[in-house]
Symmetry: C2
Subunit: 203 residues, 2 copies
Amino acid sequence: MSGRRTTRLTPDQRREQLVGIGLEMLADRSLDELSTDEVARRAGISRGLLFHYFDSKRDFYRAVVRAECDRFTAATEPDGSLEPVAWMRAFIAGFVAYVLEHRQVYLALVRGAAGSHPAVTDIVGTTRETVARRVHDGRRRLGMPDAPQAELATRAWMAFAEEAVTTWPVERPGAREELCAFIESSLVNLLGLLDRPQVLTPR
Amino acid sequence: MSGRRTTRLTPDQRREQLVGIGLEMLADRSLDELSTDEVARRAGISRGLLFHYFDSKRDFYRAVVRAECDRFTAATEPDGSLEPVAWMRAFIAGFVAYVLEHRQVYLALVRGAAGSHPAVTDIVGTTRETVARRVHDGRRRLGMPDAPQAELATRAWMAFAEEAVTTWPVERPGAREELCAFIESSLVNLLGLLDRPQVLTPR
């Protein structure tokens, strides 16, 4: 035995620590590039011990992705007691803040390569459903009429919002507020167009 | 030697044949799952001969992706002599038709995993730029005013349109026309909102 002092963690604390390291590492690499060897090394434990806490690499990947998706879901859940407009704005602000602060992870997981990683497709899919239902809930709170294609329009609006948040130049002062206003404007327009379609007209 | 008749192909014809087989195979698998062994087998040639026409697996992948991206670019190029509204509608119809008919390949390449495949990121990126410039061109033809965030809004609208086309239920009669009208409506709303922002209001 070495003289190094090792901290005794409960199994739950250890799992949490390993998942936390995985989340940190995901910030600059894809899920496929997430090496369990390195996770173990960073935690100061053996690879064997890591697999004492997780059944397989796949199991570890799923735990990391689930943790990230939980963060995303929590960040976009407004206080239920808010008035409809404030509720929807809190949702948008939460969405924008989350995507800006977790840009790399978001792109890697929710959209990019890992979104289609077979080991985690179901988790990412469920998360997207949850967030889409939230937008839908917001529409109802706002009194927007239900339309047959409302669900689809919601998902398409989410793709729009994702693209806008990940490409908007946010360095400038006031840019984040402009971005939120832009997303709000697009929500009003896109989810509103279900009951008033528009056609192109030459100017 | 078997009695099978082998056709003599010129190097260009052979390359085209191999790329064509790759494109067909991409319809039900990702770029990573595209085996050059199987491509060679389907073409009735040896793996070695395939690498006579392509420097590497990466080189072959790039040729396949370039061919697909060229198809996409061609499918979304309207006749330049059309009036602005007809031009924009031709673009939308071409986009919808392409994505519907190449749904799997489109998801795998332009959006999904392979879009972030390091070997082809530049090709996919350039294609997205070309199509975005086309939408931008359409906006100008329609006389929509230029706005500082126009380019970004265009890309976000493309994400919206992609999501709508890949999730719209198109089996019903008339569904494709409705989809085109929905995409047109979203274009009018989303690219129009740059000069008239809207805010949420309780109903």
